[in-house]
Symmetry: C2
Subunit: 135 residues, 2 copies
DNA sequence: CCAGGATATATCGGCTGCCGATATATATCG
DNA sequence: CGATATATATCGGCAGCCGATATATCCTGG
């Protein structure tokens, strides 16, 4: 289960659509805003992602409007889309947490006085204890 | 600053190395473990990532051991590697949080009784209030 | 004793996916 | 009238992930 992780671009598109339906260009602006300008989703990327997400049933065309002579094609999350986004957010949070925790562990072990580490270590510690094993 | 986001594979390799130096095959096992079996980093992916991370100065070859006739090449995070991993974890946590928040917003607005959504809506909502704006 | 699996390294071709460039069209502002 | 913003869409190149494959050693089971 859990399927596999989506691409970064897909994640941000889904996130931009999470609160309300938006059209392509609006998604572009919204992604930039919600990421505080850090993520710049490109036009060349957008439509491919939109097509893929539609094919995967995570979004659907909500409606089309003509605003000031310009076509606006609004997309909306499906229930599957919400679920997929939620699952991905969970995975990201878990990954971020794991990284943070491990960095702290590494700091504790490796930061103070490295004891030269043995020049050409050839001793067989054999059982370092890692490789837990409740696979 | 902040550079751009690293790939998912790179993130997991750095995370696996965050607590202690490990060799390639060990990284493979560790990534599977720390992700609770959800992430399966492939052998064909690993060495490319290792080379790229080394070229980028995020990891370095720590030492080489011969264990039971088999070579083990241990890699270790550099200070830049720790910083990059930390920054990426931050970005992921932020993204996950944003997604979660927006899903909640969408639920509040769209979950109960969808009122047919107006056939050919032409009204300009104009100022939904998002658009944070300290860019 | 030998086959198979785990350990451990490495390479390559193919496919997916992101991005820059480009194209088209309208409205607005200087 | 040209530049900019809005809004759509396509295409070619390049980066990166994965399956397959190769090599080599050690251990376990039949």
């Amino acid at each position: 289960m859990t399927a596999k992780s989506m691409t970064r671009a897909a994640f941000f598109v889904l996130t931009a659509l999470a609160d309300q339906p938006r059209h392509g260009y609006g998604i572009l602006r919204e992604v930039a805003e919600l990421s505080d300008g850090e993520v710049q989703l490109r036009v060349g990327t957008l439509y491919g992602v939109l097509d893929r997400l539609t094919a995967d049933g995570l979004i659907v065309l909500d409606r089309e409007e003509v605003q000031q002579g310009r076509l606006r094609r609004y997309y909306r999350l499906t229930d599957d889309g919400v679920a997929a986004l939620d699952a991905e957010a969970e995975r990201m949070a878990a990954g971020a947490g794991a990284a943070k925790r491990r960095i702290a562990e590494g700091r504790r072990a490796g930061a103070p006085a490295r004891p030269a580490a043995r020049p050409a270590g050839l001793e067989p510690p054999t059982a370092p204890g890692l490789a837990g094993g409740l696979a």
